[in-house]
């Protein structure tokens, strides 16, 4: 199993570790998921998400290659900005969802999910013209996420830039190492993701935790409860090769008017026809907590889909989830979920389940 350059630090902090996408990463630290979740919603938390992939494209036409393969329209952003985009296959199924950092026409850095990074790199390398070099830099870079309303104060203590626009990035140096500081995240709070060389990751992590402002180290457990409260999909759970952006309601991340992108034909047809199933949010009316794989039924015992993500939402103190549901099950509908033989009532609700603060300030 692959390990983060911060592995020894996590062990020293007493973290519980868990396998994720082929990487052994911190699941939670002493104190537990609920405290970590609250820290991000109310103050600030630091996550090691170095398992995320890093695929670099360099050379004349690098941005053009990304634009004619991945779904989103890179023309919507300027160099110095990042964009959420999707890598689809010809049938429209989602190979991965990822963030594209546009450095310039000849330089794009992609941050795919850990488990899919090699496949995304392979597909792009196959499509790349000779002048564009696609390199999988998975283990060369660490990714630290600083998330929460007080994240600006933490970065300022370290002399790092803050306050740039949502989804834009700066490239300062810290302690001699180049850092990409991007206003992105997976929690719904104001925050930043820091890309730093693996060698520079340790000093930066130590400085973040020592910055005062009560920065709490947070693991993938809290990352999951935070993202589920926002209704952000997770690849491998809510979206996959079997799910299209049209079904996942990710059409906003597709540049429909672009000349080409992988899956365009299939997705355009599905969009025109309307998807047979849709990824929707569920909020518990009682004590039930939905979990992936549970059946969703209309009250009249008609199966209408399956839960893809679900958890106890610490902010709401009730169960929330995402489910792939038959298209005709609309928002506001009451459904039941088979929770280990019990019939628990949920209302189909448009995420986010708690207000997002990513764009504030």
């Amino acid at each position: 199993m692959r390990r983060s350059p911060l592995h020894d630090r996590h062990v020293a902090l007493g973290a519980k570790l868990s396998e994720f996408g082929g990487w052994e990463m911190p699941l939670e630290y002493p104190g537990g998921v609920l405290k970590e979740h609250a820290a991000v919603r109310e103050a600030v938390g630091a996550f090691d998400v170095s398992h995320l992939g890093k695929v670099r494209l360099r050379g004349p036409g690098a941005a053009e290659l990304v634009n004619r393969t991945l779904t989103n329209d890179l023309g919507r952003i300027e160099p110095g900005q990042a964009q959420y985009t999707l890598c689809c296959d010809a049938s429209g199924g989602i190979v991965d969802d990822l963030i594209a950092y546009l450095h310039g026409d000849d330089h794009v850095l992609l941050v795919p999910n850990a488990a899919n990074a090699a496949e995304v790199a392979r597909r792009l390398a196959e499509a790349a013209p000779a002048e564009v070099e696609v390199t999988d830099e998975h283990e060369e870079w660490a990714v630290l996420a600083v998330q929460g309303p007080r994240s600006d104060a933490v970065l300022e203590r370290l002399g790092l830039p803050t306050g740039h626009g949502y989804m834009s990035f700066a490239t300062p140096s810290y302690d001699g190492a180049e850092v990409v500081v991007c206003r992105t995240g997976y929690t719904g709070e104001r925050g930043y993701e820091l890309l730093v060389s693996s060698a520079g990751a340790g000093p930066l992590w130590d400085a973040l935790l020592a910055a005062g402002e009560e920065v709490r180290p947070c693991g993938l457990g809290a990352r999951d409860t935070l993202r589920t409260e926002m209704g952000y999909p997770l690849h491998g759970q809510d979206i996959s090769l079997d799910v299209t952006p049209v079904q996942a309601r990710l059409g906003w991340a597709v540049g429909w008017s672009k000349e080409a992108f992988w899956g365009k034909e299939a997705l355009t047809a599905e969009r025109a026809e309307g998807p047979a199933r849709v990824l929707r949010g569920l909020v518990a009316q009682g004590r039930g907590i939905p979990r992936p794989g549970m059946r969703v039924l209309l009250t009249a015992d008609v199966p209408v889909g399956e839960v893809t993500s679900g958890t106890f939402a610490p902010t709401l103190r009730k169960g929330v989830g995402l489910a792939l549901l038959a298209e005709q099950v609309a928002e506001g509908a009451e459904v039941t979920v088979d929770v280990r033989g019990r019939r628990e009532v949920f209302v189909v609700t448009r995420p986010p389940f708690v207000p997002a603060h990513v764009r504030e300030g």
Partner: protein
Amino acid sequence: MYPEELKYTSEHEWVRTPGGAEGSVRVGITHYAQEALGDIVFVSLPEVGDEVEAGSAVGELESTKSVSDVYVPVSGKVVARNEQLDSSPELVNSDPYGEGWLFDLEPTDAAAVDGLMSASEYQATLD
């Protein structure tokens, strides 16, 4: 971590004699179990008056990430349950041998408790 005066099961539960009343025993989960589960957010317990059989699942402990069954350590009748856990499930994490107890039961056969593991026997199963 594992009080000497308690008896233990391989399902990571403890049994204390007596429970809240004479003739009953108290049941909870061990430090190891609460640590493995993580933050507990929902507890469901058997009803008072239920006749329950050793080894059967009669409730659930749900954490932020998973669900685990509550098992019956020895057969008997449920005579009390910890109603506080309805609003404060975190007590199972913070005080598993005290305020985080789960339920009291009157064993059908009081001697059945003696057949459970001692603290040192239980700890040996964790190594």
